[in-house]
Symmetry: none
Subunit: 214 residues, 4 copies
């Protein structure tokens, strides 16, 4: 008996493979590059179009407003970070403490990359004045924290859900704060390894101590 799918006349399997899709993606990449090179306060559709090698009119055929483009760009950027978290989650090994150290190290080391160093302050600034940015940001950090909580609870199963959440907020926020200090070309970039060690030790002490407010 034919399935619903096979009954459809050849069905548009390739949902979006036209050259338009490529253009739409190249616009997002150009937008991201511009955001990082010049900051949101210098982010204009004309510059994005020029960076992508398009006319302004054509760019606006794909993203009909600056808001639409900004949202798509943030979505795209953040999705990539989420994808990395998924990868990390999948790598969870036997020893949770070792796993935790590896996780912290990887996240902190990522702060050294130029795009991370520059992107996040732009996002935080945007989130102070743009509700869409708030949504994207909150959704991302929610998922980020869930990964942390999974590892933490494996280390110390005695912690309550509230304590786990509290720890995850504290740890993630503490790490984010290093962006401006040990990030790409930032004055303490060479301290990254030392920071990783201090972070891992103090976070693990907190996790083990069980003295998290309840």
């Amino acid at each position: 008996m034919a399935t619903a799918a096979s009954a459809r006349p050849r069905s548009r399997t390739r949902v979006k493979s036209g050259k338009g899709q490529l253009t739409a993606l190249s616009i997002l990449l150009a937008a991201e590059k511009l955001l990082i090179d010049e900051g949101y306060h210098n982010f204009s559709l004309r510059k994005v179009a020029a960076t992508a090698g398009l006319t302004l009119g054509n760019l606006q055929y794909y993203y009909p407003s600056k808001d639409a483009l900004t949202q798509a760009m943030l979505d795209n950027c953040i999705q990539r970070y989420l994808d990395r978290f998924e990868q990390i989650r999948a790598q969870v090994g036997a020893d949770p403490e070792k796993q935790f150290r590896a996780l912290i190290a990887e996240i902190i080391r990522d702060l050294n990359t130029r795009s991370t160093t520059v992107f996040f302050p732009e996002l935080w600034s945007l989130a102070n004045h743009d509700d869409h940015a708030v949504e994207f940001m909150d959704a991302m950090y929610d998922k980020y924290r869930i990964v942390l909580m999974e590892v933490i609870t494996a280390i110390n199963p005695a912690l309550s859900q509230a304590q786990l959440k509290r720890l995850a907020v504290f740890i993630s926020a503490s790490i984010e704060g290093h962006t401006m200090f040990i990030g790409y070309k930032k004055p303490w970039a060479r301290e990254t390894d030392n920071i990783i060690e201090m972070a891992a030790e103090s976070f693990l002490w907190l996790i083990h101590s069980g003295s998290i407010p309840a």
Copy 2:
């Protein structure tokens, strides 16, 4: 660091008299309000002039370019934070550990204020694209860390200068990172007290443990 007055073009010796000083300062306050209300990407000389109740021409008599105004504004804002650190340093009491807890609490609690919550992400974003902002920011955090180091060394005199610096970077960065999460109207604002406790405990453990990379 320059005062608001020094931004004026004619820079006489007797700089303190005349209503011009008041105007220059009212411009800076208007600029700061605008920066916090609308973000730097909506920051324009016209809006500052309107906020301050001046004509555009007159504003530009005091600050002949947008860059000059931006610098003076950052200077003024940062100076106020430095003034607070000076106050805190002056209050150092007998028990350094108690003093440290008080210091951490006060700094973190300040993150809850609207102006702090909004100002710093703008500053960090600016510092990614504006060399002047980098200078102001670095100078401020340097002084910030010196205050921290003074208290830390009173708690554990065995720490080397390098370890002190490392600890100060780690602590100050960790605290800054909470701006976007427990700041004004941020989702975890009500966790501020718990965050303060976790921060103080884990930082003190680090200070006492002596296991800071050397």
Copy 3:
């Protein structure tokens, strides 16, 4: 006058079949709706396409330029008014004076409808800057006046052809002038019946008096 169908480019003999005819007409209706809702200075092909539920490209298959669509739309609108005049002419009864009163009443009452209230000022404005609009408009008012003249001459056969024409111009122009005052949502809309009475009485007096300039 051309029908909606003739606006299509391939203009075959068997012009009436296929759903293309329906599409062409739905475009004209969408265009008319848009003209009345937003005025000609907000009239764009994109908006017409959106209103008609078509893509821009497809709309321009039917009407290859804005001018072509505008002409077809005016044509279509005016044709409907002419059709109504034909109906009215067909209803001519025995008593020409009674017939005249009915005619005047019906025409004036039509001014109350939203589409008439809005459409005609747009047409008059267009006719000041667009030669095609002038042609459509003149042709329509010519037919309009012929109907009037037929009834008038039945009332007073002594009037010369020139006098008839003069009267028809005066009467039709006078009526049109009420559009902006007793039309849909206009300030004197509730005076419509009184206006009808004054119009009918004074026009009939003119017709009977015979004192029309010769």
Copy 4:
């Protein structure tokens, strides 16, 4: 004893005589010319600026938005018509019927001028989609009708206020309707004198007949 005025230091008697005032006026004239030459649907700030010989930026220094310019232009145009009504009112002579004929003749003859022929249909069209235009238009016709009512009541003092108003609406509306038919370069322009006679006779009959709905 010095008056308040003389006490002021030279007092800005010339409230607005700077060159800026001239520029502001020249913009209004350019705007009006453009409106009449090309219609509101071709009315753009760039074209006004070009017509006035200004840069776009400078034009918008005087009129900060298109709406502001449009309103100022309509205000200016309508004010000139109101001034003419004031003149006419001042000329009221002894014989009210003669006065009425002169009034009607003058108003209708004015329809022949290019600016009147074109301006009013634009205004009516605008008033269908722009609330400001509605206000200007209503205010103008209110004053227009008051002048008419003064003359009519002198001819037939037996008419009630309601009847006067009704008559004024009917007469003014009837006259306006001729704009598109006997106006500048309109097909019946040469009939203007005949129209004036028919209008005056039929309006006077209405006034005298007393058969105005009450």
